[in-house]
């Protein structure tokens, strides 16, 4: 019996399979593959809310005082930990559950992610209502972080299997959703908080409840419509190239073997350096533009600048990942690092020249490459390790993001504080940080250039599993 016949029988055998069983999600013949990206987008647009968590930072410090922080209110530092815990658990859950996500299939994984992410908001709401920060950490940090990690990797290998001819574009489309999620979440959070705000409440408890339900429903919509292609499915008229490119393998490497190879750790550093450098701009964007252009950029305009960077971050994910299908993943990262070094080095000069327009464009391009780095990495992994365990391998690689998420802001804040304490004017205090970012990008460039094809002795033999 052929693999496709087995799939067809499994897909029809609906009586004995649970709704979330992977076999129930196998697409029927002739299924339009463009029906699948909306499922991935539904999940990524939801979990991308994480980028907008800072919207809650100030209101959460005024839960008791309402108009201004009371002495018993949570501090900004305490609240800041919530996001850090979430990012830490994003990396940990993606690494730990990657193999399970591959086995269970995207529907089950997306449903679990929906339960964790939506449930995380509900537990946090309880913490906000009872003013127990441990529940906020447990809810948004631990539970929500697991939802982020599982949700982030769940559609990746499915999309790569549906779009073997354009894996960069396909994963770029989904991961673009993660960047876009913040664009929705920021105004949505403000809208809900304003709606529920009263003279005796900041309205955050109700906002968290609503967001938990909205995100659960939206992510479950993704889980319900997602489909996996039958085994050995190929787009009509497309065949894998007989002569594989140097860095694009037709073989597979199992996740247990992949993470022991040199290539995995080179790509880990590549992602980590790209993300650390991007976060350097992102985390300081608002004060940076205000201090570099003193008196010319208001706080409201700086908020607009941050929003604009989010747009570049989102657009870059689709643009660069799609471009990588044509110029190759390695070349795409060479562009990120070389152009990145040039732009990071130019930013202090553009600030000194007082050219707001050029400064905004330079930062926008930098952020587009930050997003592009995230979106291109799944296709890079597929090229190097094959598609068999790409979701699980991607999950383990995301620990680089968790590391950069902690390393980036710490590095930037520490250097900046050291500079200001040493008497450097605020407007110039960013220069050293930006030049250090150039150094990090150089490390990333060297690691990227060192990436070679995996030794055939690591290739998986026998049936895909």
């Amino acid at each position: 019996m052929s693999a496709s016949t087995r799939d067809a029988l499994a897909a029809n055998d609906t009586g004995s399979r649970g709704f979330f069983d992977r076999r129930r999600t196998i697409a029927p013949p002739g299924y339009n593959r463009f029906l699948v990206p909306p499922a991935a987008l539904a999940v990524h647009l939801s979990i991308g809310q994480a980028y907008a968590f800072s919207t809650f930072n100030i209101p959460l410090t005024k839960l008791l005082g309402i108009t201004q922080p009371a002495s018993a209110d949570w501090t900004a530092v305490q609240i800041g930990w919530t996001f850090s815990i979430a990012i830490l658990f994003l990396g940990a859950s993606a690494a730990l559950f990657g193999r399970w996500v591959e086995r269970a299939g995207p529907r089950q994984a997306m449903a679990v992610a929906a339960a964790c992410f939506g449930g995380g908001f509900l537990v946090s709401a309880l913490g906000i209502q009872s003013h127990q920060i441990a529940l906020l950490y447990l809810g948004y940090g631990v539970l929500g972080g697991c939802g982020l990690g599982i949700g982030y990797i769940s559609p990746v290998s499915t999309l790569i299997k549906w779009f073997p001819d354009r894996p960069g574009m396909a994963t770029g489309m989904a991961i673009m959703g993660f960047g876009g999620g913040a664009l929705i979440a920021a105004p949505l959070s403000l809208l809900l908080m304003n709606h529920f705000k009263t003279a005796t409440s900041t309205g955050i408890y109700e906002t968290f409840l609503c967001m938990g339900i909205i995100y659960f429903v939206f992510m479950m919509f993704g889980a319900l419509i997602v489909r996996v292609p039958p085994t050995d499915w190929r787009p009509e008229g497309w065949a894998p190239p007989l002569q594989a490119k140097a860095l694009v393998t037709n073989a597979n490497v199992a996740v247990g073997t992949a993470w022991r190879t040199k290539q995995f750790w080179l790509l880990w550093v590549v992602l980590c350096m790209n993300v650390t450098a991007g976060i350097g701009i992102l985390s300081q964007a608002s004060p940076m533009i205000q201090e570099m252009f003193t008196g010319r950029v208001s706080a409201a305009a700086a908020a607009g600048f941050v929003g604009l960077l989010s747009l570049f971050n989102m657009g870059g994910r689709f643009f660069w990942a799609s471009i990588s299908d044509y110029i190759g993943r390695k070349s795409t990262y060479v562009v990120f690092f070389v152009l990145g070094i040039a732009l990071y080095a130019a930013v202090p000069t553009l600030g000194a020249l007082g050219s707001t327009g050029l400064f905004v464009i330079a930062c926008g391009v930098i952020l587009s490459m930050y997003g592009g780095g995230f979106a291109t990495i799944p296709a890079y992994l597929r090229d190097i390790f094959g598609g068999m365990h790409v979701g699980a391998i991607h999950g383990r690689l995301l620990t680089a993001w968790a590391t950069a998420g902690v390393l980036g802001p710490v590095l930037v804040n520490y250097i900046r504080k050291f500079q200001i304490d040493s008497g450097v004017p605020k407007a110039q205090a960013y220069s050293v940080t930006l030049y250090i970012m150039c150094g990090l990008l150089l490390i990333g460039l060297l690691c990227n250039l060192a990436v070679k094809a995996v030794d055939p002795e690591h290739h998986h033999r026998g049936q895909e599993k």
Partner: protein, 33 residues
């Protein structure tokens, strides 16, 4: 029918994103005022 399903699914995910982009652009305009 299949094309309608495709359009509806893409619309469901595109509308919130379009709203988010619109709101962000409105804010970003302040940078150039």
């Amino acid at each position: 029918m299949a094309k309608l399903k495709l359009a509806v699914l893409w619309l469901i995910v595109s509308l919130p994103l379009a709203w988010g982009i619109w709101k962000t652009l409105q804010n970003a305009m302040k940078l150039f005022e």
